[in-house]
Amino acid sequence: MAKRKKSNKKKRPIAVTVIAVAIVVLFLIRLYQVFEPLIRNNVFSIGITSPLLTGWKLTILGSAILSSAIYLILSVVGIVVLIGFLRLRPWSWVLLMAWTGVSLIISLVDYLYLRANFAVMASNVIIAFALNITDVQLIYGIRRDDASSL
């Protein structure tokens, strides 16, 4: 009977997959937020035809391009974090937790003063709780054993 080879690879907890899915969902939402202002301002059909700034103030087109750029950066960071996360890199846990924290603050401010994006909020909540699971923290080397803290 052939011996089964023992794998040295760390087993990925289900929570990691859940987080990865949540990151993908967030990536898609962010991607939509990249293109939506550009489409709204017909940038793809007529290009940048008006100025972006009037004095020191952004024009409507200017703020649309700025917000697209910010969301593009967030999307790219999201993908980088996702790759690091799936490769079980400790830095990706820290970056993702910090990123989720910032994202939650933005969501809460939006909820209090503007229009809340509940899909983003829910995805962030799932990620935050999943990152806090002991198994996840152990696999990323954030927690050394069950008894020790972060």
């Binding site: 935050a128 709780f129 990152l131």
Partner: protein, 614 residues
Amino acid sequence: MPPVSDRPTAPLTASDLKLLRKFEPVVCYTKGEQFFPTAIEHYISECSLWVHHPDGRDELLVKQGELNLEKLIETRPAEFGSVRYLRFIEPLSLTESAQVLANQLLLRRKLGEYFLAGIGRLARGGILPRLLDGLFSLSFLLRGKVSAATAAAAELDYHEMFTEDKTYPYYGRVTRQNGWVILQYWFFFCFNSWRSGFHGVNDHESDWEMVTIYLYEDDGQLVPEWAAYASHDFKGDDLRRRWDDDGELQKVDGSHPVVFAGAGSHASYFRRGEYQAEVNPSLPGWFSGLLHAWNKLWTGPLGQPVINTFHIPFVDFARGDGLRIGPGGSNPWSPVLIDESTPWVGYYRGLWGLFARDPISGENAPAGPMYNRDGSSRGSWYDPLGFAGLDKVAPPPQMEKMLSDNCEKVSRRQEELEKLIPGKAGELQAIGARQKGMEGHPHLAKLYSALEKEINTLSAEVRNLRREYSENTALLQGLTRRLDRLKAGGQDDPRSHIHHLAVPDDPSRVLRFDRAAETWAAISLSLLMFAIAALIFFAPKYIWAGLVIILILFVVAESFLRGAFVQTVGRITLILAMLSALILFLQFWKWIIATTLVAMGISLMYQRLRELTG
């Protein structure tokens, strides 16, 4: 571990004074300490005697310069609620205050002994404890307190007194209880300058501190077994160390325990170092309940470590790098014997310094060795064994006999049970057989039911006896094992009785950005206030969100400096996630409940159908 035979001994017939001298401690103070043990006669001659009446009046009983020990203990009738107290420093005018503060600076420069806090207490706690610390400092505006000028004047007066009388007295008491010979060393100080001199919790005129040594008799000799030091935040068992615990109890010449006194507070520690003395402010009941529930959620389902956020960190500096008093050095003790019959000990129940009218007593002077501030008897005086949790501990030679007696008693009971259980069990079986014979005979129903009750009672009795036998077997095993170990000369772990060990801060612990962290700790609270003020002025519309964001930014900056970034970011995100989850639930509760019910229904149906289909 050195054997008991290596310990110093004193003959049983030795006088009390000789016993005290044989085991008197060596006290090491911190560099910069301003007050050392002083003779009470000298102090009293510098004081005036007052009474504070319940209506708020303060009445002078004896003027400064006229007070002595005889006048101190004179019987004077007083109404309920009055407080008698000494006053070391008379009230100072503004000019006098400025003068004494300037003279204090000159004196310190002349003595050349400065205290340097190092990594200050503020940098050792987080931002929230610092916020509480700010409130604690502000509380002095409402509470009575000893002024900085009073502390300065006390320092100057003490220096003058010390120049006239360069002795270091202790007040020794020898008492005997339950087979123990107890040596108490009481030290009197003119002033406690913990707050004004060393960034501590409180200042007060006069201070009493105490060290106790517990001896037992063995072959006509007295052998030391325990030493207990009075200290903040600790009580009972935690106060004492066993004589052979060399890691905790250092000794000079084998017979003089070393005490490291806290700077300004004079609290006693077994090990040299800097101790975090935490003050937990009293919180309203509903808030404590809320906090308890939160902690339960935080440590339970969320699996986070316990954090005591609502405390104020204070450091007690017991560095032991200053003056050293006691045997083996150039500053010997001058012992004075005291007991209940010593007039000033037994008859003066008042405070030994200013009654600052502080409702939480931190700034009021203490009473003498025998009494509490309210005039009731002090536990450490009338129950020195209970004070250090020794009331339940027998001296070692008696311990063996007590164990042996216990073993014998339990063995005797076991023998009794060995006879009793088979008898009762047999009786139970006989009744059971009789009851069985009644089955199928309806006319015996009444008798059957009576027997049923008897069987139940007897069955419970047999079960209890068997349980007792089983428990006694385990107890006997433990007792015998311990007895054998003692007979073989073995001892228990010297620290097994300690619940909370006082551990000094690790001296090698350096904050990530040492100087930066220190500076940040000093200015962060003010910066926070400036930021909030700016927010109120520039963006009043976003006040609440702004407050939360500013607080989070401060906490993150703090954590970065303290090398706890990962931990802090994790905690903050978790709290934000909980808040967001609550908002989501409030927004979509119908959907959430309906989805949960549908999911549960599908899962249940799947399980049942699987059962049906095999």
